[in-house]
Amino acid sequence: MGRFVLRRLAITPVLLLGIVTLAFIVARLIPADPLASIVGERQMGNETVVAAARKRWGLDGGVIQQYFSYLRNVFTGDLGTSFRTKQSVTSDLLDRLPATAELGVGALIVGGVGGISLGIAAARRQNRTVDHVARLTSLVGSSLPVFWLGLIVLYVFYVRLGWFPGPGRLPSRTDAPDHVTGFYTVDALLDGNLGLAWACLRQLMLPSFVLGWGLMGIVSRLVRGATLDELHADYVRTARAKGLGEGVVMRHHVLRNSLTPVITIMGLSLGILLTSAVLTETVFSWNGLGSYAVEATQRLDYPAINGVCITGGVIFLVSSLIADVLYAAVDPKIRYG
């Protein structure tokens, strides 16, 4: 396992360089003056600022030189200044990241808990109603455009039934809790403001459900398949023959083995989750990374687009690395390379 982890780690910097390079190439496709987007249009008349930016970003040199100064800046954490917000892209991204992370955690809970329970239920009652419902949930989950699901869910549960609050991270006329983690629910709890924490949790529920549905479908299919395989294994028959209750057999024998692949799929699903988050955040006016990406692309804000691409790539890279390593650690059958 050690060798596999080492090899996996060794390839990571290469991929990282690839991500940064591809982001650079894509940003170069944008037909806008990079200088104007770096220093801002108002500063374009200011000779010293323009000259400083030119030197700093190597814009007076050729593409190769620009590429290297870009690399130097990116790896020191400088992603330039957003054309739209007039702030450093790095600080913009750090501002927006907790919102997406909070939504992502919500979706992982919905997808993980919902998917695992649905998968187990489907496997135990194979080809019965539960199994069919689980199959339908997963099929619809992978075919439903997440932005349309968001609209339906908002219309039904907010407009019609009034069970859940409308879009946004906070109820209207409420101030955000003091910034500690950036997770509003956690920050409100740290403040000791239980009412606000509950309100923020309620805001979080609908978008988490919308974002988590797709993952729930994937996880439930996986768990169902793995659980069915294990249920037919010899050791399960032995356990039952010993007279163990069905609950004990499930908990101590079957699930230990059938839940291992969930780790990998959860890790790999973060990429899918980020894709859906862009759309979910747009529908739910959620002020996160995804809506930042949408605003940036609509305004051709190229440092911001560049920053969002790099951030998305890095999150994906790190999460699949963790998933691979965890999987190798948990499952003794896995011996890569």
Binding site: P31, S143, P145, W148, L154, T275, L279
Partner: protein, 300 residues
């Protein structure tokens, strides 16, 4: 190239070459056999129905997709079964016409990714060495991005239009097929019939074309069917975000965006939403059925 000639959905004539491959001799019979499972039959039926609608709708539609036919924002009634939108256009008519934009776009993306991905994958797997490394590392990098981020950046850079949506999606999707086909080629390259061909002096190109690719193509076709739904959804997503089709197009994602702007008029997004859902579900039914039937485990 036999890629375009082998049509898993039925009607199209199958490349004679594929019959010549001993292992796959019964492929046509197998395809007919798949049709007997009801999800596959239903899926193909739905896809065919949408294809017919997309092709023939201008002949029989009772109004154009851009005609204001009634009062604005009218809820569903007998004159306008799915209501009217903010410009008084019939939502049902627009949904039906939308198939003419959404379906060809998704089809073009799938054909583009399969052709480009397979070309790279075949070369990488067959040549090996440095070519293989370069192509595979490039595909790793593209796959390291969450698809939509890269697609959004490319679509934004090129400007919003359905043509650029196709370019952007092909760019983020080809590596999946490159990997899939490379794996297939690597496995088939080792078989005896390839060795035999090589030993009698068949040139490498011909070995690849006649002895390797025809056997590698089944999983690719199945994967393409399964991906169709996802591609359709992603196409609509880009339009929804304002990076794909532009008004007054009736592309489904753009229509749903219009529905967001008139949030309380739920019927505006109902038609296009059901359109996407039905096509994507149908494609998944067919893909799942084909996969179970051929038991293809090599995915991704």
């Amino acid at each position: 190239m036999s890629i375009t000639q082998t049509d898993p959905l039925g009607a199209a004539p199958i490349d004679v070459d594929s019959f010549a491959v001993p292992d796959e001799a019964g492929r046509w019979a197998a395809f007919k056999n798949v049709l007997s499972s009801w999800p596959v039959a239903v899926g193909i039926g739905v896809l065919l129905a949408w294809a017919i609608v997309a092709i023939t709708v201008p002949l029989w539609a009772w109004a154009g997709p851009r005609d204001a036919v009634g009062p604005r924002l009218q809820s569903p009634n007998w004159d306008h079964v799915l209501g009217t939108d903010s410009l008084g256009r019939d939502v049902l008519i627009r949904t039906l016409y939308g198939a003419r934009e959404s379906l060809p776009t998704a089809t073009a993306v799938i054909i583009g990714t399969v052709l480009i991905g397979c070309a790279f994958g075949a070369v990488a797997g067959f040549r090996g060495g440095i070519t293989d490394t370069v192509i595979m590392r490039a595909s790793d990098v593209v796959l390291s991005f969450p698809q939509i981020f890269l697609a959004m950046a490319v679509a934004a850079a090129l400007g919003p239009s359905l043509r650029n949506t196709i370019v952007a999606l092909v760019l983020v999707w080809w590596p999946i097929y490159a990997r899939l086909l490379r794996g297939q080629v690597l496995a088939i390259k080792q078989r005896e019939h390839v060795e035999a061909a090589r030993s009698v002096g068949v040139p490498p190109r011909r070995i690849l074309r006649r002895h390797v690719l025809p056997m590698a193509i089944t999983p690719v076709m199945i994967n393409a069917t399964m991906d169709f739904g996802q591609v359709l959804v992603l196409t609509a997503s880009l339009s929804f975000l304002g990076l794909g089709a532009t008004p007054p197009s009736s592309e489904w994602g753009l229509m749903i965006d219009d529905g967001t702007k008139n949030f309380y008029q739920w019927w505006i997004s109902l038609g296009p939403g059901l359109g996407i859902l039905s096509v994507a579900l149908a494609a998944n039914f067919v893909g799942d059925g084909l996969r179970d039937h051929f038991d293809v485990r090599a995915k991704g």
